[in-house]
């Protein structure tokens, strides 16, 4: 009897201990797919950096899982098309206990312009703001020179730092944590570049109590290794599950997957501005009198030759949807009326013959080999499919470091590119608008496509502050680019998180991995 009593007591104690342990050691470890280079949120606009930094800092404009602006630490209204008035939530606390005020906001919107020596900063987001007017402790008005509809999307990436902590701070001050004082859900505990980032919970977080005391983000760029870390229990969750491992993880009862369509569209830029684009030759390898790619029928034929569903199913193992638009379905400005070009090799051959290229020609498809999911495999598959309709295609794959420079230098006839953004008009401005350095249009328009009507639509859309009207214009711009085959859309990526059983994640279309979106089941 006594022993039984004792063992019961022991059992209860063990349960208690277990509960205590579970409560106090609520730690979440997440495997990231790319390295975080700095904790300074205004130095370089790279997604991996923003992933880590948004654990520490909030932005003025939050985005929901569909990448649409939603109020977070502030709400907004537009009294007139040139004025954006932001009202801060009261009682938002920085990690050092100070309250967030409009002083911090103004400081944070100015700081990106003061950063020097950055190869790719945040200036582009804050430059449209020509005046900042502090109304009171909680209200600030931002003015733009011309109506700027994309301001909310732009500000979603500008993180708010503490003026007190960040004044005069260097990159190292952020890395060491001295300046990394934000209002976000987690405090920076340790930043070990190339290895891991450790956070502890911000107890006064305005968004309510969080389930994890401690969060560790581990940098695991190698795909199989990231999966191995999850399988062996080294991490609780991983982002960007490699396509090859999806099937296995889906079958395993020990793991869960969360998926959504990503904001990233993969497409082919097709040269339309030159008579002799690189790599475009006759089948015998001789130069052609005129570039076939200039003919919209040829571009349409190439689009018809591509079996997008096969790419999505086979190469991407289901982690892609056939694409038609410049942006994916949940993104602002997607036109659902535009459908993916159906796979139709016979129609493609007919169109080619009609355009006078019945005997075919040859092209080279350039692709990076370390940027997008299965990028070089996708390019090879497209080459296979073009060969079926008589266009013999070679693939020229290279690392990103070489690729982007060459593409900007116009060294390619056909080039693969992926684009992820919060709005179709922003995407089109970069990749399809006529290149015009004065307006800042077409900086990534490698194909040299040009249609003044589209340029007008983009300008109109970006200049419209009312979201509903802006989206309508952005949609018609999307539709126009698709009708012209300004580029050949391939697929929208699907983004996947894998986690051990007992966790859930709100899959985000913008691909961000946030510990505060992981919940115990």
């Amino acid at each position: 009897m006594a022993t039984r009593h004792f063992s019961w007591r022991l059992g209860a104690l063990a349960v208690q201990l277990f509960l205590v342990a579970a409560a106090s050691a609520a730690e979440l470890r997440i495997g990231l797919s790319a390295d975080v280079t700095t904790m300074d949120p205004h130095f370089i606009a790279a997604q991996p950096n923003l992933t880590a930094q948004q654990h520490v800092f909030d932005s003025l404009v939050r985005t929901d899982e569909r990448s649409r602006p939603v109020p977070g630490i502030a709400t907004w209204r537009t009294p007139d098309p040139l004025t954006w008035e932001f009202t801060l939530r009261k009682g938002v606390k920085f990690h050092d206990g100070a309250e967030l005020t409009t002083e911090d906001v103004v400081f944070s919107l100015e700081r990106p312009l003061a950063i020097t020596g950055s190869p790719g900063g945040f200036q582009t987001y804050v430059r449209p703001i020509v005046a900042k007017e502090v109304v009171d402790r909680y209200t600030v008005r931002l003015r733009t020179a011309t109506p700027h509809g994309a301001l909310l999307q732009d500000l979603a990436d500008v993180l708010i730092v503490s003026k007190r902590a960040a004044t005069g701070a260097t990159g190292e001050d952020f890395d060491r944590g001295r300046a990394a004082v934000g209002t976000g859900p987690y405090k920076l505990a340790r930043f070990a570049r190339g290895d891991r980032i450790e956070f502890t919970r911000h107890e006064d977080y305005w968004g309510g109590r969080l389930p994890w005391d401690r969060v560790t983000l581990l940098v695991l760029p190698s795909d199989p290794v990231r999966t191995a870390a999850l399988l062996s229990g080294q991490v609780d969750a991983i982002e960007h599950v490699p396509t090859a491992d999806i099937a296995r993880l889906r079958k395993s009862p020990a793991f869960r997957l969360e998926q959504t369509v990503s904001w990233r569209t993969i497409f082919l830029h097709v040269d339309q501005s030159r008579d002799r684009p690189p790599g475009v030759l006759s089948k015998a390898g001789k130069p052609l009198a005129e570039s076939p790619l200039k003919d919209p029928r040829v571009r349409r034929a190439m689009s018809k030759a591509i079996n997008r569903q096969a790419i999505a199913d086979r190469v991407m193992e289901g982690l892609a949807l056939p694409a038609a638009n410049v942006v994916s379905p949940s993104v602002f400005g997607h036109d659902p009326a535009v459908k993916p070009e159906p796979y139709d090799p016979d129609g493609a051959k007919k169109l080619l013959a009609e355009a006078g290229y019945g005997e075919g020609f040859s092209v080279t498809i350039a692709t990076p080999n370390n940027r997008y999911i299965n990028d070089e495999q996708v390019a090879q598959t497209v080459a296979q499919m073009l060969a079926r309709v008589g266009i013999s295609a070679k693939v020229d794959a290279m690392p990103l470091s070489v690729y982007f420079g060459k593409a900007r230098n116009k060294d390619f006839g056909i080039a693969l590119l992926g684009w992820g953004t919060r709005a179709a008009d922003l995407a089109l401005r970069s990749v399809a608008a006529t290149a015009n350095p004065d307006k800042g249009y077409g900086a990534w328009n490698w194909g040299g496509y040009s249609n003044p009507k589209l340029d007008d639509l983009i300008a109109q859309s970006l200049g419209t502050v009312d979201p509903a009207r802006r989206e309508a214009i952005a949609r018609s711009a999307s539709a126009l680019a698709a009708a012209d085959v300004a580029f050949i859309p391939l697929h929208y990526q699907v983004v996947t998180w894998a986690m051990r059983n007992g966790l859930t994640y709100t899959a985000r279309t913008d691909e961000f991995t946030f510990a505060h979106y992981f919940k115990p089941q």
């Binding site: 199989p224 086979r314 190469v315 080459a383 060969a387 070679k394 794959a397 290279m398």
Partner: protein, 297 residues
């Protein structure tokens, strides 16, 4: 003529005494044959994208291809028949390894002999250059070359020559210096033979056999290095995969159970390298036991 045959017979007999080495040699011959005859025996040209079908991709070993033949070792993520891919891959790997080694050997030998024979500031300069060269991590050389001249088989050969020549130069120089101090060279010099004659008639024949042995083993190294470069994404173009690239491609599928994409090319690579190394080892034992001194040092 007759005098030359006796050592050869002795050599063959010496080599044949080790049964493992003979087996390795036979394997190597088979591999070479398979690599050379790849277009004749492969059911598919794995480098012709038009012959591949994405709908045939990732089939397990033994599955039937859309075109009718059987994927005895499965297919990769582009629908490449693994048997064909391995045979063609062997061609590339062996070709790249052998070609780069031969050129690097010739280059390194020339530089090493000049260095050893000239001595003085030239020797110093060359050896500093060798130091410089050996301090470059090979992948950086590869990436820089790749960026400047593009990706391709010829480029990887250049990169591998670049990585290897200094090694030979250093080895040859060491060996030549050792030979130089020997009496027969002194004697030749006393007899006022020209420098060229001393090098070609006296030093080279003594330095060459050990070098060839080292080079045999170096072919294996070059193949492994090419595989590593391809693994890091800096080697072969994806459309004409070497064994290393096949392995690297298959690595992504390893955890999902599609072992064949990575495993079989790995086995082919391993057998090739082991066979070369075994043959090289035996050659060394038979030809010159002293080679161990130069090797790797």
């Amino acid at each position: 003529m007759i005098a030359a045959q006796a050592p050869l017979r002795e050599f063959t007999a010496g080599f044949a005494r080790d049964r493992i080495a003979v087996a390795a040699f036979a394997t190597l011959c088979l591999i070479l044959l398979a690599a050379i005859g790849a277009p004749l025996v492969s059911p598919q040209d794995p480098y012709d994208l038009a012959q591949l079908d994405i709908l045939d991709s990732k089939f397990a070993p033994g599955a039937k291809a859309g075109a009718g033949f059987t994927f005895w070792l499965g297919s990769d993520d582009q629908g490449r028949d693994m048997v064909s891919a391995i045979l063609y891959g062997l061609r590339i790997s062996l070709g790249v390894g052998a070609l780069s080694t031969v050129i690097a050997l010739a280059l390194g030998m020339a530089v090493g002999l000049i260095s050893a024979y000239a001595g003085g500031w030239l020797d110093n300069l060359i050896m500093r250059l060798v130091d410089l060269q050996l301090s470059f991590p090979s992948i950086l050389i590869a990436l820089v070359l790749l960026a400047v001249v593009g990706q391709g088989v010829d480029k990887i050969v250049i990169a591998l020559i670049f990585v290897q020549w200094a090694y030979y130069a250093r080895t040859v120089r060491g060996a030549a210096l050792a030979e130089k101090r020997r009496e027969y060279v002194d004697a030749a010099r006393v007899m006022a033979f020209s420098a060229r004659r001393i090098v070609f008639r006296h030093i080279l024949p003594n330095v060459l056999p050990p070098l060839i042995v080292v080079a045999t083993v170096q072919v294996a190294h070059a193949i492994a290095l090419e595989a590593t470069l391809s693994f890091l994404g800096l080697g072969m173009p994806i459309t004409s995969p070497s064994l290393g690239l096949l392995i690297s491609n298959g690595f992504a599928h390893l955890l999902s159970g599609r072992y064949w994409i990575s495993f079989f090319p790995g086995v082919a690579l391993l057998i090739t390298i082991v066979a070369i190394n075994l043959v090289g080892d035996r050659l060394r034992d038979v030809l010159n036991p002293r080679i161990a001194h130069h090797y790797g040092a």
